[in-house]
Structure formats: structure tokens, C-alpha cells
């Protein structure tokens, strides 16, 4: 089949297999989503929207949708989340460069059988060497053949002990301990396979992958043109002749562009409910998909500051912020409440409504604020001696508005907070130095997976654990959930962790942003997932015009 699941016994991509693949894909498309109701058509160029010039074209060196969105069509992963399934989970992982895969050695080895006959865009053959090269470079393995300028997902592969390539079509990831999540991280848009014969530095300004589209032209600050790869290893794909990602910095212009029909699809991370709804109102035929982004807004408390060693202060702050107020005032309704993991119905691992209701800041705001005042009083603060803190955030309107909302909430319980605006470019440098007291931040996650989230943001010593929260018991639980193969048992562990992290104020989650994605009705098979980072391959997208 065109995209096969693990465990399939099929060998090469025979003509029969190809036909069967197309048939099955169509069945999945029609039956699974009801999205595509007519026969796919070939041809046409999709005009997609990009909000800014990507910092570089190298997915492995960046952690922004601005790079992943236009570059995903250029590459393939070993495995990918099924583009037809809205909700990503382990059951929706399908093969790309890997035809099938199997866990061995009690979950400590993940073996991939690779496709044969796959070629890079320059005609060179793809092999297991490329897979080993990519992930050795990403995880900065000792003796890795190259070095990335920055490797933001190095932590994802911390549990990989070695990568073995017994032959050109087989790759084995040997793990230090079992880790069911590895397959999900490999399925993320952030996990393409790079060519071993091209220095990674070159991929900052060009793309050379095995993917359904090749780079035709990149005009910095203007557009990225991709053109159909005629030698793509899946026969009959892609449907489109090309994709043009037009870089439009001004949001009003981006929406005007889609309303006027200059753009076929919107940028996938606008989080602009009101504007999207007004465009839909003006053009009723437009498709508006309400979905999630896997991006949360949060308040960081710097655990290096002695004041936050006092659990009462942390809880008082946590209680003071009315989460429902945040949804309305902070995100104008374009958010859902949740804990550390993406909440239901979008996410797989999020807390239930009942569990959420028990978290600080979720219940009656008046009662919560009263409890916060009492806690502050116990800690020695009150009207005569107010607690004075600073809230840092990026100097852009959304963050400043959100920080102002937080400051107002804190003021209602007697905390006098001042706002510090920081230029976006040096924001992460400041967080890395832990040079703040409280900070309003947002965090985007690749796959909706506990490992991808918990290790990066909550484990002791992680560079992106900006609050420096460190609890050896929590670290142990993170490791335990990571190697638990039983889903139900792991879900319970994750829920316990989620609740605990929120109660301790490790990173106070305000809520999860929702996306209102616009596209013209003639764009078919572009199905937004719960994570914005994983559905940009465009292999199945076609235009019905």
C-alpha cells in the first residue's frame, strides 16, 4: 500500500501493490473521514500561506512551524502520522520510508524495514546509511559524521543507545530502556530523514529530500516554490504539480489574501478566531476547521528565586489566575482549558473534565482568590506588606496583553506585579539564563506525546525546563511512564504526573490555543491534526477546480 502500517509483510512496491495501495488509500479517505467525496484530480499549484521567512530551511535545526510547514513536503520520515486522521496516536502511525517496523528485545530495539528503490531528489539512492546519519547527527552521538548548528530535538533521542544498519534496507534503533513513544517522535514533522551525502549546513538554504515535492525556487522574504517530484516512490502521488508558499508578514493581508482568493489555504498557526469567523461570514463557502494546535500558554515561576521555594506562594499565584477568564480575555475564546498534556477532545493524554476541575484556578474565581489571599497571609504578605514581583514577556501585543491580564489577576489577591517587556529575539536567551522572576510564555509541542513534552519541559536539567523545576520523584515517574507499554496504565501515570506538576506550579498552564483554519472548498485532503507540526506533507492534497 502507499503508506503501510507496521507489521505488513509486503516486499517491494509491485504494480499490483501500487494499485491496491491507491484503492485502500481511497477507501481510508472516503470511509475514514468522509472528506473526499470525489475522484482526486491531478494538477494545479496550491498557493499556501507562510507568516514569516523561515529562520532556515533545515527542519532539524529549527523549532518553528515557519520551517516545518513549507519544508515537510520536501522530505519523508521513517514513519508519519496518517494525513487522513485528525487525531494522532500510536494507531495512526503509518510507514513512509519504512515499509514496516517491529519492536524487539522486550521493547529495547526498534527495527525498521526500509523501502527499496527510493531516490533522493538528486538521484542518489536512499539507504539505511541516511537514517543512521540523520539520527546520529540529531542526537549528537559520539563520532557522529556531522554536526548541526543547533539540535533542538536532541533530547527526544536521549534514550537511543546506538543505531545499527545490518544492511541497506534495515535499521535498528537500540534503546537504553523500552520507550514506546519513540515511534511517535519519529512520526512527527520534526523528524525527516536527511541525506548522508549532503552536509547539513547546505540544507539551511536548500532542500534535498526524498519527498513528494522538490525545491524549485526560494526567494527570501517572498516565497518558496516546490514542484512535484516525478520520481516519487509512491506511484500516483503527489496530485499537485506544485506548491507556492507565499510569505506574508502582515496578518490582515494574509486574511485578505485568502478572502480574495489569492491564497488557497491559510497559515496553520494564526489562532485568530474572530478574523477567521468574519472571513467565513463574508465568504460562506469557505471551509473553516476548528482544531487545536498543541501549543499551550503558560506562566513560568523561576524556581531559582527563593520566594518560589514557598509552596504557598506558588499555589496562591496558581489560584489567583482565573482560567476561564484567560480563555475569554487572553485568547478571545480561542482556547481550551487543560493541564500539562493537550486536553480532550483534541488530545489523547489530557486530563478528564473531572480531574481538570480539581486543579488550581479552575473552579469559582471568587473562592480561589479568597484561598490565595489566605495563603499569602500565611506566608506573611497582605495589604500592609504586599508581595512584589515582576512578570517578563515578549514585547509583542499578544504576550503583553496576556501578561497584563495575569498582572490584573495577581493584583486582585494583593500581589503587585510589574511588567517587563523583552525583545522576542533575546527572549529565549533570557529564559535560558533564568534571568526572570515570572514569565508569560507559550510552548509548542511536536507530537501529542508525554515523552516529547515531559522530558523537554519538566525533567531536571533540561535546557528548556525554563522554570528549573526539579523533583527527582517526578523524574522517576517520567521515566516510569515512558517505559510502560500498557496504554491504560501509562495514561494513569501521565494523569498523576499532570496533576502533580500543576499542583506544584512547575509550569502553570493557562490553557491550550485553538486554531480556526481556513481553506477554499476546492482544496481536498488537507486535514488539520491536533498538532500543527505534523500534517504538512501535502502528498494527498488535490485541487477540485
Amino acid at each position: 500500500m502507499s503508506m503501510q502500517r507496521g507489521g505488513s509483510r509486503s516486499g517491494g512496491f509491485s504494480a499490483f501493490g501500487g494499485r491496491l495501495a491507491i484503492l485502500l488509500t481511497l477507501i481510508i479517505a472516503f470511509g475514514g473521514t468522509g472528506w473526499a467525496a470525489s475522484t482526486p484530480k491531478y494538477g494545479g499549484v496550491l498557493t499556501a500561506t507562510e507568516s514569516d521567512t523561515p529562520p532556515s530551511l533545515s527542519i532539524h535545526e529549527e523549532a518553528t512551524i515557519a520551517t516545518v510547514w513549507p519544508m515537510m513536503p520536501c522530505y519523508n520520515n521513517l514513519v508519519l502520522f496518517d494525513p487522513f486522521k485528525k487525531q494522532e496516536n500510536v494507531g495512526t502511525v503509518i510507514g513512509e520510508l519504512a515499509e514496516r517496523w517491529e519492536w524487539r528485545d522486550g521493547g529495547k530495539a526498534l527495527l525498521f524495514h526500509l523501502r527499496r528503490g527510493v531516490k533522493w531528489h538528486d538521484g542518489q539512492p536512499f539507504s539505511s546509511t541516511d537514517v543512521k546519519f540523520t539520527f546520529d547527527v540529531v542526537r549528537e552521538a559520539p563520532g557522529a559524521p556531522a554536526k548541526l548548528r543547533v539540535s533542538p530535538r536532541k533530547l527526544w533521542y536521549e534514550n537511543v543507545a546506538s543505531i545499527e544498519t545490518p544492511d541497506a534496507e534495515t535499521v535498528i534503533f537500540h534503546l537504553k530502556r523500552p520507550q514506546p513513544s519513540l515511534i511517535l517522535m519519529l512520526a512527527a514533522g520534526y523528524s525527516p530523514v536527511y541525506p548522508a551525502h549532503v552536509p547539513p549546513a547546505e540544507l539551511r538554504t536548500k532542500c534535498l529530500g526524498t519527498g513528494p515535492f522538490k525545491l524549485k525556487e526560494y526567494r527570501q522574504g517572498e516565497y518558496i516554490d516546490l514542484v512535484k517530484n516525478p520520481d516519487y516512490f509512491i506511484k500516483g502521488r503527489p496530485y499537485l504539480d506544485g506548491i507556492r508558499y507565499v510569505i506574508i508578514r502582515e496578518r490582515g493581508t494574509r486574511y485578505a489574501g485568502i478572502q480574495a482568493g489569492r491564497q488557497d489555504v491559510a497559515y496553520p498557526l494564526e489562532i485568530a478566531k474572530t478574523i477567521a469567523e468574519s472571513v467565513k461570514k463574508a465568504v460562506p463557502g469557505m471551509v473553516l476547521v476548528e482544531t487545536s494546535t498543541n501549543l499551550n500558554d503558560n506562566l513560568l515561576l523561576n524556581f531559582r528565586r527563593p520566594i518560589f521555594e514557598d509552596a504557598r506562594i506558588r499555589r496562591a499565584i496558581n489560584l489567583a489566575i482565573d482560567r476561564k477568564g484567560y480563555v475569554q480575555a487572553g485568547r478571545q475564546g480561542a482556547a481550551v482549558l487543560g493541564g500539562v498534556m493537550l486536553p480532550k477532545p483534541y488530545g489523547v493524554w489530557g486530563l478528564s473534565e473531572k480531574e481538570l476541575g480539581k486543579l488550581p484556578g479552575m473552579g469559582d474565581p471568587a473562592k480561589n482568590k479568597e484561598e490565595a489571599r489566605q495563603l499569602l497571609a500565611q506566608a506573611g504578605y497582605g495589604p500592609g506588606k504586599p508581595l512584589k514581583l515582576s512578570v517578563s514577556t515578549r514585547a509583542s501585543s499578544f504576550y503583553v496583553d496576556l501578561a497584563s491580564f495575569i498582572i490584573d489577576q495577581l493584583k486582585q489577591v494583593g500581589i503587585e506585579a510589574t511588567l517587563e517587556q523583552v525583545e522576542t529575539g533575546i527572549w529565549h536567551a533570557k529564559l535560558t539564563r533564568r534571568d526572570y522572576e515570572m514569565a508569560v510564555n507559550n510552548t509548542g509541542l511536536g507530537p501529542d506525546d508525554p515523552d516529547a513534552n515531559l522530558y523537554e519541559n519538566f525533567k531536571c536539567g533540561s535546557p528548556r525546563n525554563y522554570s528549573d523545576y526539579c523533583n527527582p520523584e517526578v523524574d522517576r515517574l517520567i521515566d516510569e511512564q515512558s517505559q510502560t507499554p500498557d496504554f491504560a496504565k501509562r495514561l494513569r501515570l501521565v494523569h498523576d504526573l499532570d496533576t502533580r506538576l500543576q499542583l506544584e506550579g512547575a509550569r502553570i498552564i493557562l490553557g491550550w490555543a485553538k486554531e480556526y483554519y481556513l481553506m477554499w472548498p476546492y482544496v481536498k485532503n488537507l486535514i488539520p491534526h491536533q498538532s500543527v507540526y505534523n500534517y504538512g506533507r501535502m502528498q494527498e492534497v488535490w485541487l477540485d477546480r
Binding site: 548548528r149 543547533v150 533542538p152 527570501q220 485578505a256 529575539g425 529565549h428
Partner: protein
């Protein structure tokens, strides 16, 4: 004239040298550098890797050494390499220059075609209803920022026509009509504001000239108003207008940031801001120097035109 030109060239060189120091120092004073920006997209900063990249880019060397190296590169005609795009800075900058220059020229054209006649009419019909209308319109024009006007134009187009100009640059050789439409609306947005200024300058300057004796003499000789105004008065009233036109043009080269952003035109101004945000030193330094050269040349051209318009002006 020769001495005058040589003096101006010498002053220009000194000005550019001063500019180079100012821009170089200002960029280094701003917090963070390109390496912070590189790590910003990764979400954290690795101090060891940061030091390594700073060394690779030569940012670890003393500021005086960096400055001397840059000046040396300019003198050799080498504009360096863009930190952000990893390609020669000139390759990134070159295609953007004609776009901004064309937009600035068209905007000045719009400003002149609206502003000068409006100023003349307003002066000639002083304190009559037409003068009041013109003055109100010019005040409104001055009050409306061009970026706001640009956004309003876009919204009106999409609301009224369901159409907006192309959002990727269309070359005139590719499609002249689409190209002109693409530039017409931003030129209107920018030009209308400048036209208000030019209208007011034209009006006040013309009013002053119209009170001169030789204008009264021209009327006394029985010449028609049109001839008096357009042939005798306007030519002499034009010097301040020309000064404003020169300043506005020079200002526009660097001041079109928001208009280029709103209309998604890939010009110099928009790119300069992006380069500043990225601390892309080679690109920013060279673009600012380019803008400085344009300002100097525009002022020089205006000074030369003075002599042509007013024979009493002497160079020496």
C-alpha cells in the same frame, strides 16, 4: 561649480564615514546578536555552541577589528555574507532595491500630481470654499498614517471587489498590468500623505510669491491669471516644494517599511527591519549605507535643481 561638486563629494564621504560608525556601534549596542536569534528559534541557548558560532562569524573579535574588516570589505566591493541566509549580502539585497525605488518614485509622482495642483488651486482661491476643502483634505491626509491607509485600501478592495493586488512581486516584463496594479495602491497610500504635505507647502509658498511686486506688475500688464500663476509665480514658489520632494523621496527609501509589509512588496525597507530584528549585521550595515547614499544623492540633485530653477543661485 567644480569646486562646489568636489566640496560636496568630500562632505558626502565624511558623512558616510560618520554614518558607518554610528550604524556599526548602534547595532553592537542593541542587546543580543545573530547567534541569539539562531538559538531563539530552537527555544534555548547552548553557551558552548553559541561561543563556537560567534567565533565562526568573527563576532568574538574586538569591535574595532570588526569595523576595520567591514570597511575593508566595502572598499573591495565585497558586501559580506548574510548571517541569516548564509549567502552573499548583495545577492539578498540587490533584487529589493528596484522595488523600493520604483515605489518611492511612484509615490512621489502621486504626491506631486495631487499636491502641486491642489496647492495652486488652494492658494489662488484663498479663503474661498475650495481653499477650505483643500485644507481640510490635506489635514486629513497628514493625519492618516500611510500604513493605516494601506490597510484600509486592502480591506476596501477585498470587501468591495473581492480582489486585492498580487501578493508576490510581479515583474513588469512578466505582466505589466498586474505590476502596475500591484504598485498603484501602495503608491496611492504613501503618495496621498506626501501630497498633503506638498499641497500645504505649495500653497504657502505660492501665497508668498503672489504678494510680490512683479506678480502685481504682471497682472497690471494684463496677463491672464493662468499665465501669471503657472509661468511666473509657480516657478519661484517651487524651490521649497522641491526641497520637500527631495527630503520626502530620501525618507521614503527607508520609510516604506509598513507599506511594503501591508502590500507584501519585497522591498528594501521591509527587509531592513527583518535584518535588524535578526541582527544580520552585514545586511543592515550595507543597506543603511545604501540609504545614506540615496539621501545624499537626492539632496545633491535638489541643490543642483535650485540653480536651474532660480538663476540667482550660484555655486561656489
Amino acid at each position: 561649480m567644480r569646486t562646489y561638486v568636489l566640496t560636496r563629494v568630500a562632505i558626502a564621504v565624511l558623512t558616510l564615514l560618520g554614518m558607518s560608525v554610528v550604524i556599526f556601534v548602534l547595532l553592537r549596542i542593541a542587546p543580543g546578536d545573530v547567534v541569539d536569534m539562531i538559538f531563539a528559534s530552537a527555544g534555548y541557548v547552548d553557551p558552548a555552541a553559541k561561543t563556537e558560532i560567534q567565533r565562526e562569524l568573527g563576532l568574538d573579535r574586538p569591535i574595532t577589528v570588526q569595523y576595520a574588516r567591514w570597511l575593508g570589505e566595502i572598499l573591495r566591493g565585497d558586501l559580506g555574507k548574510s548571517y541569516r541566509y548564509d549567502i552573499p549580502a548583495w545577492q539578498v539585497v540587490r533584487p529589493r532595491i528596484p522595488i523600493t525605488v520604483e515605489l518611492a518614485i511612484l509615490a512621489m509622482l502621486v504626491a506631486s500630481l495631487i499636491g502641486i495642483p491642489a496647492g495652486v488651486v488652494s492658494a489662488v482661491r484663498q479663503d474661498r470654499w475650495m481653499d477650505y476643502v483643500m485644507r481640510i483634505l490635506s489635514l486629513a491626509g497628514l493625519s492618516m498614517p500611510s500604513f493605516w491607509l494601506g490597510m484600509v485600501i486592502i480591506l476596501l478592495l477585498v470587501w468591495g471587489l473581492g480582489w486585492i493586488p498580487a501578493l508576490t512581486y510581479v515583474s513588469p516584463f512578466q505582466d505589466l498590468k498586474a505590476h502596475l496594479l500591484q504598485f498603484l495602491f501602495p503608491a496611492l497610500a504613501v503618495g496621498s500623505r506626501s501630497s498633503a504635505l506638498i499641497m500645504r507647502i505649495t500653497r504657502s509658498s505660492l501665497l508668498e510669491v503672489m504678494r510680490e511686486d512683479y506678480i502685481r506688475t504682471a497682472y497690471a500688464k494684463g496677463q491672464r491669471e493662468r499665465v501669471v500663476v503657472w509661468r511666473h509665480a509657480l516657478k519661484n514658489a517651487f524651490l521649497p516644494v522641491l526641497t520637500v520632494l527631495g527630503i520626502e523621496f530620501a525618507f521614503l527609501i527607508g520609510g516604506l517599511v509598513v507599506t511594503e509589509t501591508v502590500f507584501n512588496l519585497p522591498g528594501v525597507a521591509r527587509f531592513l527591519v527583518e535584518a535588524i530584528l535578526w541582527r544580520d549585521y552585514p545586511v543592515v550595515q550595507n543597506l543603511v549605507m545604501f540609504i545614506a547614499v540615496v539621501v545624499i544623492l537626492a539632496n545633491f540633485a535638489v541643490d543642483v535643481l535650485y540653480g536651474w530653477l532660480d538663476p540667482r543661485v550660484r555655486y561656489g
